[in-house]
């Protein structure tokens, strides 16, 4: 399998878009302009961008909360995301939800329920539907290293394995679950070992190399799409911010951060593109400029958007409301 130049540039664009969007969110948070918390994927953007970009239009993503790249790639705009953070009516959920607890079926993104790994079985169910209906669509479901300790991880993986469903399970192993390091989460070396329990083949990829993530995902998607069943992909990376923007992550050894800083996924991609003369500095700067503008516009849009009305909160409980006479 190889990858086209325009795809490489698109990957770069989405890495940048994700980074700049979340950096902006971080600033807004520190300015006190975001109501609730703010979680970013800083340092790990290659995971969501890589697996998100490898999806085809009719596929479905069942993401978790550090998957900003997926939301953007699928078509949930930066505008709606900043509006979401600000609690605006134009946010992805009209203000019902904050931050990345979102989804939009128009773009093939299942909502992320805060409860980690709930989306593993849910994703498997979407894959089941595709298989039952003979559709050539696949699902990519993602969770964090922490999420792999949950029962729903187990039940979702096992169900998908038994029914050989067209789903690929991704794990963003950023080495911490909030403050809890891997060694207090599991007694194995690689999270990929978890997949052995289900007879699901697994791969370990450099989660800071967006091309590697993309290629691994594409390959696994092809297998799934052709009836080969699930794959588990462990992306090894490192969370470079605190768990959320209020957390200074003092519990993470500074050396570890220093080490991973050098492996930054955007720097990595820039180097890759330039050293292989795929793109010149100026071209990348051009992309960055585009991104910058897009984020600025998104912010203006969000700022100018109205807040929902108090009554809006009373609407939408049921898809089929029960009429009171």
């Amino acid at each position: 399998m190889d990858i086209k130049r325009e795809d490489l540039l698109q990957l770069y664009y989405y890495l940048k878009l994700t980074r700049r969007l979340e950096d902006r969110v971080t600033s807004l948070y520190h300015q006190g302009r975001i109501l609730g918390g703010a979680w970013t994927s800083n340092g790990t953007e290659a995971v969501s961008v890589g697996y998100g970009y490898a999806l085809e239009k009719n596929d479905i993503a069942a993401p978790y909360f550090r998957d900003m790249g997926v939301f953007l790639i699928r078509g949930i705009s930066a505008k709606r995301i900043i509006a979401q953070y600000l609690g605006k009516k134009t946010g992805v959920t009209g203000g019902k939800e904050g931050n990345v607890h979102v989804g939009d079926l128009n773009f093939g993104v299942l909502g992320f329920p805060s409860h980690l790994s709930d989306n593993y079985p849910v994703g498997a169910g979407a894959a089941l539907a595709f298989k039952m209906r003979g559709e050539k669509r696949i699902v990519a479901a993602c969770t964090g290293d922490g999420g792999t300790s949950r029962g729903d991880f187990h039940e979702g993986m096992n169900f998908a394995a038994v029914r050989k469903l067209p789903i690929v399970f991704i794990c963003n192993n950023n080495q911490y679950a909030y403050t809890t390091p891997l060694k207090l989460q599991m007694a194995i070396k690689d999270i990929a070992e978890r997949a052995l329990a289900y007879g699901i083949p697994s791969k370990i990829v450099d989660g800071n190399n967006v091309v590697a993530v993309y290629m691994a995902a594409r390959e696994a998607y092809e297998i799934a799409r052709n009836g080969g069943g699930p794959t588990f992909i462990e992306c090894k990376t490192m969370r470079m911010h605190g768990h959320s923007e209020h957390d200074s992550a003092k519990y993470v050894p500074r050396e570890l951060l220093e080490e991973w800083k050098k492996k930054d996924p955007i720097l990595h991609m820039e180097k890759h593109l330039m050293e292989n003369t795929i793109a010149r500095k100026e071209e990348l700067d051009g992309i960055d400029l585009r991104v910058k503008k897009e984020i600025e516009e998104a912010e203006s849009f969000a700022e100018e958007s109205p807040y929902p009305s108090p009554e809006d909160g009373l609407k939408g409980l049921y898809a089929t409301p029960v009429e009171e006479e």
Binding site: L105, D118, G123, G125, A129, E155, G156, Y318
Partner: protein
Amino acid sequence: MKEITYLEAIKEAMDEEMTRDSSVFILGEDVGVYGGAFRATEGFIEKYGEWRVLDTPLSESGFTGAAIGSALVGMRPIVEMQFADFISCAFDQLVNVAAKNHYRWGASTPIVVRAPYGGNIHGGPYHSQSIEGFFFNVPGLKIVAPSTAYDAKGLLKAAIRDNDPVIYCEHKYLYRRIKDSVPEEDYIVPIGKARIAVEGNDVSIITYGAMVHTALEAARELKERGVSCEIIDLRTILPLDKKSILNTVKKTNKVVVLHEQTKTGGVGAEVSAIISEYCFEYLDGPIVRVAAPDTPVPYSAQMEEAFIPQPKDVISAVEKLNRY
């Protein structure tokens, strides 16, 4: 019209809906080759194949989650809990995923979770629970609990066609013990509508599920003693049919609320609260609840019989109230 049992009604509803709509399918433990612990899906796998009648691994959260995911992309799954008691393992998926999808991000989750519930079958603490209380304070879910074959069929069809997650409480005690008439043609019983099981003037008995039959027995006896009871069968528990509740109170002015569920925090508390909030001035006496005591469901016959509300308990509550 034809006479069928409560269990046959459930079976027919699923069968007809699966024939009508190819997006309807069933999953759960042992629903395939065996046709389910209570044989509600007997013969289905032969008829619909193993991809529409799925025997799942023993993992309630996993297969409920899978049902939700399939529903989000257009399917209409029916999840069978082997016993309602095991729904506790799927609690998170139901409460935090299914119930909140539509409110949070506008996605409809048309799943039905069949929950064979209730006691009086010597099942002990883990095979007799009434589970409606787990979900009664969870906005976004619907809960139904039929008491007749007619309603069992019509409500299940309505639940399958509904676009929201519905917990369908089917009372195990009624499966083969009751029989009544259902039309030959397609029909539904709308979610959210109670029915008047018996009209009467002196005291209202508001109830649902197997207790409707307990109420009927009590009412027959009371009639002989000259007390006329109106029995309201709620049918839908969430959301409650407020109007039917208030109407009967306005008529009789005296209310007994009856359920098999344990008393504290039961559906009866809400019924009572609705009444005293919205038609207090019509009340001619206290609102009396007849319900199971606040314990798990014991196994031994002596203790279980004392646990489950009996006609005599209803009779004495009604008589006391009638004398008030």
